[in-house]
Symmetry: C2
Subunit: 426 residues, 2 copies
């Protein structure tokens, strides 16, 4: 099949899949989990081929770690499928009900979006998570994984697609595309694909937006901030910052810039330097910072740097407004935190910082679908419409309005013979 045929086939499947029952979808998920376990040996063999090829190509060690898909990881993803099965059915829920007039009832009902295109990095577990989330939410999915994981992706896609089809899910619901040229073709399929979810750098997400009419749910850079207000509990601030920077530095929700209120800079900065250097974090400061502690200046005065490493920028701000402005100017709308004992200041910060997640007295590392209790996540959206922050099942749904009458016509209301009641039932 060429990409157009694949996309058309996915669309056809999506239209049927929208009406699949909870039982059917859960049965398909169950069969998928079972098939993954039964095929453990074959999956590991395919993954070993990917690993061998990637080692030869000198892929960096952290990337090899992500690419590895062993028995433990297979067990993790099947555990994930089991929890997905236990989640309540997301489709067909009446989100609100209004009586427009006697016998004329309007239901706002959750439904799948249709066909989702997902482009993801070289983590085979992402393929399993995304495709099973799509299945549970009744969406068809077209996947493009990293080329390093080609063999692993192929066998996983085949197992998942076929197990679901055996259970009764319409064929065509899962498609795997393999090359970059395929992706470029995919971007033209706005007739068939309803939403693109690209996971990658800002530049990559922008490339997708520049080259497609399909709506994009961007999962891009995380330039996260932690702002230490003058009323902060200093020990709490240090503890939270160490977590936000070092618990997993390569994550998109790790803090990249620390903003320090000038009123506590003299007291706080020397301690910050000492404690961060103890855990091997390198600090880069603004001019004012350099007058208080002996660190390097921020390279090229670039305050939008995503280090993804044990490095952090530090800036003194004159007050809350400057902190908020700085974040809204240089941040990426991902996750930003304030450390303060003052509730009013915290609320102002959380209201005015224009990010998907705004935190008070806790680590930016909490910004994650699993930690938020969503069960699983498709990505973390830095977009401003549809879905924001960590995106779970809900982000793969939209709604339609269903109106049920008994021969009701508009002319009766236009002539004021009748009037709407608009009684909210739910």
């Amino acid at each position: 099949m060429n990409i157009k045929e694949m996309a058309r086939s996915a669309k056809k499947a999506a239209l049927e899949l929208a009406a699949a029952s909870a039982e059917l979808k859960n049965d398909a998920l169950q069969k998928t989990a079972q098939a993954l376990l039964e095929n453990t040996a074959a999956i590991i063999k395919a993954n070993e081929a990917d690993l061998a090829r990637s080692k030869k190509a000198n892929l960096a060690k952290p990337l090899l770690e992500r690419l590895k898909f062993d028995e433990g990881k297979i067990r993790d993803v099947t555990d994930g499928i089991e929890s997905l099965i236990r989640l309540p059915e997301p489709v067909g829920q009446s989100l609100s009900v209004t009586e427009l007039d006697r016998g004329l009832e309007l239901h706002k009902v959750s439904c799948p979006i249709g066909v989702i295109g997902v482009i993801f990095e070289s983590r085979p577990d992402a393929l399993v998570q995304i495709s099973t989330l799509c299945l549970k939410s009744g969406n068809a999915v077209i996947l493009k994984g990293g080329s390093e994981a080609a063999e692993t992706n192929k066998i996983l896609a085949e197992i998942i697609s076929q197990s679901a089809i055996k259970a009764g899910i319409p064929s065509g619901w899962l498609q795997l595309v393999e090359t970059r040229e395929d992706v470029n073709e995919m971007l033209k399929m706005d007739e068939y694909i309803d939403l693109m979810i690209p996971r990658g750098s800002n530049a990559f997400v922008k490339y997708i937006m520049d080259n497609s009419n399909i709506p994009v749910l961007g999962h891009s850079d995380g330039i996260c901030h932690t702002y230490v207000h003058s009323d902060a509990d200093i020990e709490m601030a240090i503890k939270v910052i160490i977590d936000a920077k070092t618990q997993y530095s390569a994550a998109c929700n790790a803090t990249e810039t620390i903003l320090v209120n000038k009123n506590i800079a003299n007291k706080f900065l020397p301690l910050l330097k000492q404690r961060l250097e103890e855990v091997n974090v390198e600090l880069f400061g603004c001019k004012g910072t350099l007058e208080i502690i002996d660190i390097k200046p921020v390279p090229a005065d670039n305050w939008a740097k995503e280090y993804l490493d044990r490095k952090v920028s530090v800036k003194i701000v004159t007050g809350d407004n400057e902190a908020i402005d700085h974040i809204n100017t240089y941040g990426s709308g991902h996750t930003d935190a304030i450390i303060t004992a003052d509730k009013a200041t915290a609320q102002k910060f959380m209201n005015l910082v224009d990010s998907g997640s705004t935190f008070w007295n806790c680590s930016t590392r909490f910004s994650d679908g699993f930690r938020y209790g969503f069960g699983a996540e498709v990505g973390i959206s830095t977009s401003k419409i549809h879905s924001r922050g960590p995106v779970g099942l809900e982000g793969l749904l939209i709604y339609k309005y269903m109106l049920t009458g008994n021969g009701h016509i508009v002319a009766d209301y236009a002539g004021k013979k009748k009037s709407f009641t608009h009684v909210k039932i739910k």
Copy 2:
């Protein structure tokens, strides 16, 4: 100001406006309504200039009707503002609350999108409705109206913008652009504009999508269907179809195609012809239809025709699946209805027809924000993400996650020392 300066100024205003209190916004709306009434004479004078110029340019009569903005229409829009004031505050509502662990609480809180760009046709009342909806929802707005209404739009934008600013809304919150070149510049401002709402033809909405990275909420053609099932109450079907076609033929929610189940075609079609011709509706049929009633064939076999007139296409379908397929192929995802006495058939139809609104035993003309009880509408979305169907205040909102802790760090949970409770509070 050039467009970039305007967009930047709108963005700045939006960041402040996000934290405006309900009282401040309602006061601004009150002052706006008052100023519109006080300036009635000047508004009518500006509108008369637009009308005179448009008459000279031979603008069609229905368009002149829409352009006219007299005392009655001013009263209508100020009444609309009064109802908007009475609606509950949409911003800052906790949509859901989850305890992640003791003392670590996650709130999903409604908030404005930011800067909305709206391109609308030559109805001055649209300018008032859209800008006051944006104000109530805390969004800044950049407006481009039809050039026929240039003078009326100018004075309305000035009155609304200034009344709100006098009440304390940040200046720059409302901007009016005037030329098509301005629109093309606007489309490049993805750094500042968060959402475009173009109201117009499919071709126009597609033009906007083709030429911008800004997410688009499309308000485009309505190719709406009414499907008469074999179990339909014939009299109800006729009554509903007459309303759906003639109550206001130029509306996007008017029915453009009637699908008739073959089992009742012989009985239903002659009656349909007679009753529709009585109200001056011209019928165009498929091959099978022409064998039963004497009407013209559908021009150029085009089943995606939006007549916006007292004309309608008629097609015989062999069953429910063909009806659903036809609608999903030729419809525009706007509004489609089934007439049937059978509940299971109706539910299948409403689930499988992939449109923003799916109706059972009522007129497609009900698809409208006012009738749905939203108070006002920005447009009717035929998009598949963010907002679907009639879009009221809710479509201008998104959410952010606010997490409040007490020095909580992720390392405590990664080490399994602590585990998440994920207790749903709301």
